[in-house]
Symmetry: C2
Subunit: 261 residues, 2 copies
C-alpha cells in the first residue's frame, strides 16, 4: 500500500522515476495519489477562490467538480497510462468505483470561536476489501484517487493519507500489509530543512517527545498519527520516505520506519 504526495505528482521527472520503481515492485500493490497543486491551479484558472483550514481544502460544489476532474480524471488516468507503458497492469479507481471506499460528509466542526463547514469533504466509513481483493487477485495494480462517495450519489473529497491508512488497515485482515508514505523528503526529519537529520526509526514514545518539543509539526502530525493508527490496527510495517527510493523503502533500507515500541 503506497501513497505518493502531491509534490511528486507536480514534478514530471520525479513522478516518472517513482512510477518506474512502482511498476517493478513485486506482489500485490495499491497506489493512492494526492495532487493538490494541479487542482489549485485549475481552480485559479476558473476563478474559484480556494480556502484551506488546517491544511484541508474547504470543498464547495464547484471545487468538488475540480477535484473530481483533476484527481479522478487527469492525474489518475495519466498515472494508469504510464504504468501500462511500463508493463504494470494498472486500473485506476476512486472510492465510488466498486464501492471501494464509502464515506460520509464531514459534520461542520467548531474551531475556536467559529464553526467550520468543510463542504463536500468525506470521512471514511468503510473499505470494500473484497472488491480490492478481486482486482489484486486478477493481477491488477490498483491506482486510487482520493475521492470517495456516500452511497447516496454524492462524491466527496477525502484525504489521501487517510484513504491509504484505511485501505491498509482493511486489507491487513487478509495480507501482511506494508504501508509506505512516499514524498519528496528522505523521511521524518529532526530539522525539516536538513535531509541529514533523518530519523531512521520512530517509536511512539520518541514521537510524543518530538511533538511536545515542537520538532515535529504541521502536515507531518496527521501523517504520523495515521501511521501509528495503522500499526495499531494490524498493518505490519509503516515506512515514510523518498518516492524515488521506493524499492529501498520497501526493504527498510531508506526512510523512517515507524514502530509502536
Amino acid at each position: 500500500m503506497i501513497k505518493i504526495g502531491g509534490n511528486i505528482i507536480d514534478d514530471e521527472a520525479k513522478l516518472s522515476g517513482f512510477l518506474l520503481e512502482f511498476a517493478s515492485v513485486k506482489g500485490k500493490k495499491i497506489l493512492v495519489h494526492g495532487g493538490g497543486k494541479l487542482a489549485t491551479r485549475l481552480a485559479t484558472e476558473l476563478s474559484l477562490p480556494q480556502q484551506m483550514v488546517e491544511g484541508r481544502r474547504i470543498t464547495d460544489a464547484e471545487t468538488l467538480k475540480v477535484i473530481t476532474m483533476v484527481y479522478a480524471g487527469y492525474i489518475n488516468k495519466n498515472i494508469v497510462a504510464q504504468l501500462q507503458a511500463l508493463g504494470a497492469n494498472a486500473l485506476g479507481i476512486c472510492g465510488a468505483d466498486g464501492n471501494a471506499v464509502r464515506a460520509h460528509k464531514r459534520v461542520p466542526k467548531a474551531v475556536e470561536t467559529q464553526t467550520i463547514d468543510y463542504g463536500f469533504v468525506g470521512d471514511v466509513d468503510e473499505v470494500n476489501a473484497a472488491f480490492l481483493q478481486t482486482l489484486l487477485n486478477a493481477g491488477m495494480a490498483v491506482v486510487v484517487a482520493p475521492v470517495t462517495h456516500d452511497m447516496h450519489g454524492q462524491l466527496l473529497n477525502t484525504n489521501a493519507d487517510t484513504i491509504a491508512q484505511e485501505i491498509a488497515k482493511s486489507l491487513s485482515e487478509f495480507y501482511a500489509v506494508s504501508l509506505i508514505y512516499s514524498f519528496e523528503k528522505t523521511g521524518v526529519l529532526l530539522d525539516v530543512d536538513n535531509e541529514n537529520t533523518l530519523i531512521r526509526k520512530l517509536g511512539i514514545k520518541y514521537y510524543r517527545e518530538l511533538k511536545d518539543t515542537g520538532a515535529i509539526f504541521a502536515g507531518m502530525i496527521p501523517k504520523l498519527d495515521n501511521a501509528f493508527a495503522a500499526l495499531d490496527s494490524g498493518v505490519e510495517k509503516v515506512i515514510i520516505g523518498k518516492a524515488e527510493e521506493l524499492q529501498k523503502l520497501i526493504e527498510g533500507q531508506s526512510g523512517t520506519t515507524i514502530s509502536l515500541n
Copy 2:
C-alpha cells in the same frame, strides 16, 4: 452494451431517468458515455478555442487534458456514484485501465486541399475482452469513458460510438451481445424534426436508399455505419432509440432495430 449520447448527459433529469433504467437492466452490462458539451464549456472557461472537423474534435494537448478531466473524471465518476446509489455495482474505467481499449494516434488525413491533423485522437486497435469479462463476471456494471491509450503512455480522445461498437464486437465472441445506441430521439427518423417518422426496422438496402436520397445525413451516418459493422462482426442486435426507454429498447418494443437484411 449501451451507449448514451452527450445530450442526455447534459440534462440532469434525463440522465437520472436513464440511470434508473440502466440500474435495473438484468444480466451483464456495459455503459459507454460521451459528454461533448461539458467539455466544450470547460474549454471555453479556460479560453481554449475548440475546432471541430466533420463532427470530430481537433484535440491538442490542452484539449486532451480537458477531455480526460471531464469524461474520465467528472462525468464517469458521477455516473458511477449515481449507479451505486441505485444499487448497481458500477466500476468506471477509461481505455487505459486494465488496457481495456488500446488505440493509436490518428494519422493526419487529406481532406480536399488540406491535411487535417486531429491531434490526440485515437483509432481503436484492440479491446481487452478478457479484462472486461473479469469485471462482468465479478458482477460489475462497467462504465466506460471515451478515452483510450496507446500502450506507450499516451491517452487519446476516442469516439464513444466507435468504442461501443468495438467492445460489442469483441465480446460477441463470448456472449450474445445487444448493442443499444441511446440518445434524445426515439430512433432513426425519416424526418429528423418529426418524432412520428420513426423507422422501426432499418435494413442495409433501405439504409443505402435513405443515404442516397439525403434523408439520413450528418451525425447519424457514422452511427449507422458503426451499427451495420457491428452486426457484420457478430453482434446479435443493434437498436437505436430514446435513453429513457432503455428497457423497451432492449425488448425491441421501442426505437429502430438495425438489421443486415
